[in-house]
């Protein structure tokens, strides 16, 4: 054996692993650059941790069309912007629900009141006289039409109902060349000038739209003429202070538990335990980095999930070390015991983790909001922990052996190996 050559090299590599562990921890804690890329700063906290309001709206009719739901979401977004809730988010849930998350609001009740009411869409003339309202609009759709130069460009087509057609025809006949304003909740969403007498109730707003802008405007106009009401079926407001307490105490529990596990593993498995401790530090750092990168939202159950996953992450190592101990007990050298231990433990670890992944998958598919975030955290935790337990720990153990630390006792073997295989 070229032990002489191997030893310095493996010491260097081992130190390198320590540096990697420290570096990843540093990265996870502080991040890189101004935006703290990779850092915990970028992990989005759920409403239950930073405080905020979550409201679920349901369409008051059985089967709303997809276009109407998109229009309703657009309406809510417009209002959220108007109220200054810039971090707020509205998303469709199922076929007839809209989930609205508004982080860090001062007054939860005011937020619910301000976005709950039905939208008001109105058409005004130059002098501010009301011409039409949203109830006269039958449909607004984004279209593509040829412009004066013959090129294709996005536009929005509006179809009025019978009453609207009559009023609109009258108005356009007398006001050619004058502007018309469209307001949603007192906010001007479009301004156009009348180029023709429109008698058939089918107006066309064109101009320098991008496709997305045309779509957004159509949805906003539709929002003002929604054929259904939105009912807030659930609302949940958590104060910032309660959220902060929940976060702080959970982190405290996590840190104490983490330190306990580090000590526990070394006490039980000596050098193997030390290797798994380094792997565990890398695990926690990687988990935080992945959470930071995927912009997953971390909720209270999510944190509980992480803390639980730290407890379970050592499981793979415990299985492997138990195997290594057994292999040492039948008289193998440390080097071959490590290989055999990893190989024999693999099937159990794989099957165990896949079944837990199944549980996470089911949670993700059936759950909503908070539960989805818990499932995501759990799944990321399982995948990352398999990597650190199987790959990182193995590299570390091999390096330890090559560094000359190869007495079976140091890896948890009993001094007298009289215990044979049963």
């Amino acid at each position: 054996m070229k032990k002489g050559n191997q030893k310095p090299k493996s010491i260097v590599l081992f130190v390198l692993m320590l540096v990697v562990a420290a570096g990843l921890s540093y990265l996870a804690y502080f991040g890189v650059g101004e935006n703290n890329l990779f850092g915990i700063e970028n992990i989005r906290l759920g409403l239950d941790l930073q405080g905020g309001v979550n409201i679920v709206y349901e369409a008051a009719i059985e089967n709303p069309t997809e276009e109407d739901m998109d229009a309703a979401i657009q309406m809510i977004r417009t209002r959220l912007d108007k109220e200054g809730y810039t971090e707020a988010d509205a998303a469709k849930e199922g076929t007839n629900r809209i989930r609205v998350d508004i982080p860090g609001v001062e007054d939860a009740q005011a937020a619910i009141d301000s976005i709950g009411a039905a939208a008001m869409l109105k058409f005004f003339d130059q002098e501010g006289n009301e011409i039409l309202t949203g109830k006269n609009v039958e449909k607004a759709t984004p279209v593509v039409v040829p412009n004066n130069l013959g090129a294709q460009e996005p536009a929005v087509s509006i179809k009025m109902d019978a009453e609207g057609t009559k009023i609109f025809s009258e108005f356009t006949k007398n006001n050619i060349g004058k502007p018309i304003f469209i307001k949603l909740d007192d906010q001007v969403i479009s301004q156009a000038s009348i180029s023709d007498h429109i008698s058939n109730g089918e107006g066309m707003i064109s101009g320098s739209f991008t496709t997305d802008e045309a779509k957004q405007l159509a949805e906003r106009i539709e929002a003002g003429s929604l054929p259904f009401a939105l009912n807030a079926i659930s609302s949940k407001g958590v104060g910032a202070k309660l959220g902060m307490d929940a976060l702080d105490t959970s982190i405290k529990a996590g840190v104490i538990g983490f330190i306990f596990i580090l000590i526990f593993m070394v006490a039980l498995y000596r050098f193997s335990g030390m290797a798994s401790d380094i792997a565990l530090v890398i695990y926690v750092a990687l988990l935080l980095i992945v959470l930071s990168l995927t912009s997953a939202t971390l909720t209270l159950p999510g944190i509980a999930g992480i803390i639980l996953s730290i407890g379970m992450a050592v499981d793979a190592n415990v299985i492997i070390f138990t195997r290594i101990k057994e292999e040492l007990a039948v008289g193998r050298s440390v080097r071959s015991a490590i290989d055999a231990g990893f190989n024999k433990a693999f099937s159990a670890i794989l099957d165990g983790n896949v079944t837990t992944l199944i549980a996470a998958g089911v949670l993700y598919t059936l759950g909503s909001g908070v539960i989805k975030s818990f499932a995501t955290t759990l799944a990321i935790g399982i995948v990352v922990s398999m990597f650190t337990a199987l790959v990182v720990t193995r590299i570390l153990l091999k390096l330890l052996v090559e560094m000359g630390i190869d007495k079976p006792v140091l890896y948890g073997a009993k001094k007298h190996t009289e215990e044979g295989r049963a």
Binding site: Q109, K236, L242, F264, A304, G311, V318, A348, A360
Partner: protein, 312 residues
């Protein structure tokens, strides 16, 4: 090797488990008889409103607060609960509108001279319509069933033996029932985190069972012996690992329970029980179930062969 006589004593474990499950499940009709409802459904499940408010001073909920609520929101049928060690009060009521809750907040703010920022004083303000309650129950049942079926399929394929899958899933249902019993006995509110807690324990306990079954699978080919011997040896070889892993996981959850805020406590406590039940069932229930299934199958096969023989 440590010799755990798991198979020899299996009847004891079966009886113990049955008693535990029965006690938990019987708590449900008992609760119902006392007029509390079988399980303590949180407002997410049954619909209703919750306000958690810091009044800044110690009050008597029944004489000081109740009249105010009854005046502002008649028929709210409020339940009041003080948060121990604080001046906070949790008000649980029937579903209300946000205007009603605003009025109530203002009435309380006036009476108790609450001048701080509303976001610090009103720490929870939630309302759930009763319409979504049926949906939550359905989802919880769906999640457990779907999870169990998928795991049954996966284990049966990986272990090339349906009996492994079936006994692992039965042990898992055993844990689900014990957890449900804990929720009934200790009146823990059932809410969104209930489903998460259940599936976490399902994941944890099935993982635990698989480690032992993996040993049995391995030893079955190597050791010439009866099922009974193979199982006892396999359990003996894995028991240290089972205990060590449950210690590391338990420490985490117990810390969460002792240090966490009330919503964390409600999540952590069932997990503590679930982890203990999961470890117990993977050692003392899962393998004996597999043993019984093997025995049953052998007997069944013998009978078939016997019948064929007599038919000739």
């Amino acid at each position: 090797m440590k010799n755990l006589r798991v198979i020899e004593n299996r009847k004891i474990f079966f009886i113990l488990s049955s008693v535990l499950i029965l006690v938990g499940l019987l708590a449900m009709p008992f609760n119902a008889m006392r007029g509390n409802g079988m399980l303590n459904y949180d407002i997410e499940f049954k619909g209703g409103s919750v306000m958690q408010i810091d009044l800044g001073q110690d009050v008597n909920p029944q004489t000081d607060i109740l009249p105010i609520i009854n005046e502002v929101i008649p028929d709210a049928s409020p339940r009041l609960q003080k948060v121990t060690g604080t001046t906070e009060l949790v008000i649980t009521m029937k579903p209300t509108t946000s205007e009603q809750r605003t009025q109530l907040y203002e009435a309380l703010a006036e009476k108790y001279n609450l001048t701080g920022e509303k976001k610090d004083i009103l720490s929870t303000d939630s309302n759930f319509a009763p319409t979504i309650s049926g949906e939550f129950k359905m989802k919880a049942i769906q999640a457990v069933l779907l999870g169990a079926i998928l795991m049954l399929i996966y284990i049966s394929i990986r272990f090339k033996d349906f009996k492994f899958g079936a006994s692992a899933v039965l042990a898992l249902l055993h844990n689900v029932l014990i957890m449900l019993g804990v929720y009934a006995l200790f009146r823990i509110p059932l809410n969104n985190s209930f489903i998460a807690a259940m599936l976490t324990i399902i994941g944890y306990s099935i993982n635990d069972t698989i480690i032992i079954f993996d040993r049995i699978r391995e030893n079955k080919g190597r050791i010439k012996g009866s099922d009974e011997e193979v199982i006892d040896i396999s359990v003996g070889q894995t028991v240290t690992r089972s205990i060590n892993t449950s210690i590391t996981t338990l420490v985490m959850v117990v810390l969460l329970y002792f240090l966490g805020v009330s919503s964390v406590k409600e999540f952590a406590f069932p997990l503590v029980v679930g982890i203990i039940a999961g470890t117990y069932s993977s050692i003392f229930i899962a393998s004996p179930l597999w043993y019984e299934m093997r025995k049953f199958q052998r007997k069944h096969n013998k009978n078939k062969v016997g019948k064929k023989a007599t038919a000739k």
